[in-house]
């Protein structure tokens, strides 16, 4: 599943002298990491699945429920309404960020690559939003977009666009788009850094040769640079997918745990959080675990599948 692009491990050398580390010492070195990873990641991950197969009353596990929790998730209110709606919002965040990253992000990275003066400064400025905590970003935008004292609406009024100075986060029709756009804005820094590294790996001789053959800037980019940085594009897309499907902190900071206004900023992780920790449903643990399992299978499945498909395409491109 993992193909390092930057750090390429050389093929392991089998020497006559043999490995320097016997199995016993190797296990000794591995033990602390195995213990911590096993207890705090593997064990909970596995039990998370099992939780979804039981019915629960409060924190007490009841009988084996088979797939009943999964069925309830799609038939029982409010989940039958909230889950598909939230899923749509997650998808929208994903589509928005992928478009933003592969247009604006890619263009910025490309421009940066051909800049010498101020390159480091621009890179830092572009990357900054990506590094800041999504909680901070979410709260910051609620302040900036506040209808009464927010600078955004004040500026819009000042430049004669007063009709655009609406309560962005109070209206269900605009609130979701705010979340999507803020996510796009925040995540553009990621491809700027990553594509920057990938572009640095494109041999300049290739583009030079193409320009000698009379290829213009766009054609050089399209037929030489782009195929060579496809692995990076795959990475950005897959990681963007995982992040969009898991997104929690940003919508929480903007719309709270219930996705106000009127569920417009709701996402799957918020539904999960409410079901597990805030709902009065006595089977909250069973239902939320079923949701987590679905989400897990979807995220992991799509990520693995997409990586495979893109690898194949990359091979045909290069």
């Amino acid at each position: 599943m993992v193909h390092a692009v930057q750090v390429v491990p050389p093929t392991r050398r089998r020497r006559a002298l043999g490995a320097h580390l016997g199995l016993a010492s190797a296990l000794g070195f591995l033990a602390p990491a195995l213990l911590i990873f096993g207890v705090f990641v593997l064990y909970p991950m596995v039990t998370a699945f099992s939780y979804s197969l039981f019915s629960w009353s409060g924190t007490a596990r009841g009988g084996f429920a088979g797939l009943a929790n999964f069925v309830s998730l799609f038939t029982q209110e409010p989940y039958a309404t909230e889950v598909p709606r939230a899923f749509g919002h997650n998808l929208l965040i994903f589509v928005g960020t992928v478009i933003g990253q592969n247009t604006i992000g890619l263009a910025l990275a490309h421009a940066l690559h051909h800049t010498t003066r101020g390159r480091r400064l621009f890179q830092t400025l572009y990357a900054m939003p990506y590094l800041v905590s999504p909680v901070v970003i979410g709260y910051l935008w609620t302040l900036l977009l506040s209808p009464t004292f927010g600078p955004v609406n004040k500026v819009l009024e000042a430049i004669g666009l007063g009709q655009l100075a609406v309560p962005w986060l109070g209206n269900p029709d605009t609130a979701l788009w705010v979340v999507v756009l803020v996510a796009v804005w925040q995540w553009i820094g990621f491809p700027v850094l990553l594509y920057g590294a990938a572009l640095g790996g494109v041999p300049p001789e290739l583009t030079e040769a193409a320009s000698l053959d009379g290829a213009g800037g766009w054609r050089r980019f399209r037929h030489i640079t782009l195929p060579l940085i496809t692995p990076a594009i795959t990475t950005v897309t897959v990681l963007g997918f995982i992040a969009a499907m898991e997104s929690f902190a940003l919508p929480y900071a903007i719309g709270g745990s219930s996705g106000t206004p009127a569920g417009a900023t709701d996402v799957l992780s918020l539904v999960f959080y409410r079901t597990a920790f805030e709902s009065g449903d006595s089977n909250g643990i069973g239902l939320s675990s079923a949701l987590a399992t679905c989400l897990f299978v979807f995220i992991f499945g799509v990520a693995v599948l997409a990586t495979r498909l893109m690898r194949k395409r990359e091979e045909s491109l290069t």
Binding site: G28, L34, P129, L131, S133, D213, E246, A249
Partner: protein, 294 residues
């Protein structure tokens, strides 16, 4: 790209078209303008945050866009002293530094064993660790909660630290193993002849050589742990133990109208990351690209 040009800046194609490696002047000018415009888009909101934290709330309400001279740091004093931010900050530092130290330490040892052992079992263990690279671990929050509950580690910063330490292991092992594998066996052979045992070779010969990778891993893991929100939201109950992201939520609930203080709180939560990025851009980018190609 510049190496081609014998006459500075000019080369001619068979069709007679002139190539400037950096593109025509006008084109460059447009690109620079667009780049600067986006720089304003990217950094503008963050500058408003900093500016807002240095003004009084009354001034912010009277004039949302602007700057007051002289700036005032009273909001920082308020957030830090009255609104518990010194506590949140300390909690965040303890959890982040603690988890990064633990996960890096155990991962260095594990990565060494993975790189230097040829046992089939060790290879299987490696694939288990690497499968963790793509796990959406936040989805295991419920079992993590009950696990910590049974260990009496709910509402406990050490419990939170261990969860983050475990979450950082796959990435750290992935990067460190690649580095160990690049080091030739001969380095260890010399000390082996001198009679050094496995631990001596690891500690005195190998660890000093992978220092750059250790720096990358430690610095890169700092960012997601510092920013994480869901785990402390669920696992920490007392306000005294909140790390910054959760502290911010209670702060925003409590001081809704004190905008200047709200901005100051946001800045306090952000400053360490900005400093880290400015001081260690190289390591952070190396960390990002190490995960490339998953």
């Amino acid at each position: 790209m510049t190496s081609l040009t014998t006459t500075p800046g000019v080369a001619t194609t068979p069709t007679g078209k002139t190539i400037r490696p950096r593109g025509p002047r006008v084109g460059r000018g447009v690109v620079t303008v667009l780049m600067s415009l986006y720089a304003v888009v990217a950094i503008g909101p963050l500058l408003l945050m900093v500016a807002g934290s240095l003004r009084t709330s009354a001034d912010l309400f009277a004039n949302p866009v602007g700057f007051e001279w002289p700036p005032t740091v009273s909001s920082y004093v308020f957030a830090w002293q009255q609104a518990n931010f010194s506590r949140y900050f300390l909690n965040s530092i303890m959890v982040t530094v603690g988890s990064v130290v633990i996960s890096t330490a155990v991962s260095v040892a594990a990565a060494y064993a993975i790189a230097r052992s040829q046992s089939r079992l060790v290879q299987i263990i490696e694939s288990v660790f690497l499968s963790g690279l793509m796990l959406p671990i936040h989805l295991a929050i419920l079992p993590v909660f009950y696990l910590l509950d049974s260990l009496h580690l709910v509402d406990n910063l050490f419990g939170l630290t261990m969860v983050y330490a475990a979450a950082g292991i796959p990435f750290s092992i992935f990067v460190l193993t690649a580095f160990f594998r690049q080091l030739p066996y001969e380095l260890e052979e010399a000390s082996m002849i001198d009679g050094a045992g496995a631990f001596r070779r690891f500690w005195s010969v190998m660890v000093p050589l992978v220092r750059p990778a250790i720096a990358t891993v430690a610095i890169f893991r700092f960012v997601p742990v510092w920013n994480d929100f869901l785990y402390p939201l669920v696992l920490i109950r007392s306000a005294d133990r909140y790390p910054l992201p959760v502290g911010l939520t209670s702060f925003f609930g409590q001081y809704q109208t004190n905008w200047s203080a709200l901005f100051a709180g946001l800045v306090i939560a952000t400053i360490p990351l900005v400093l880290l990025f400015l001081l260690a851009t190289k390591q952070i980018i190396a960390g990002l690209t190490a995960g490339m190609g998953k």
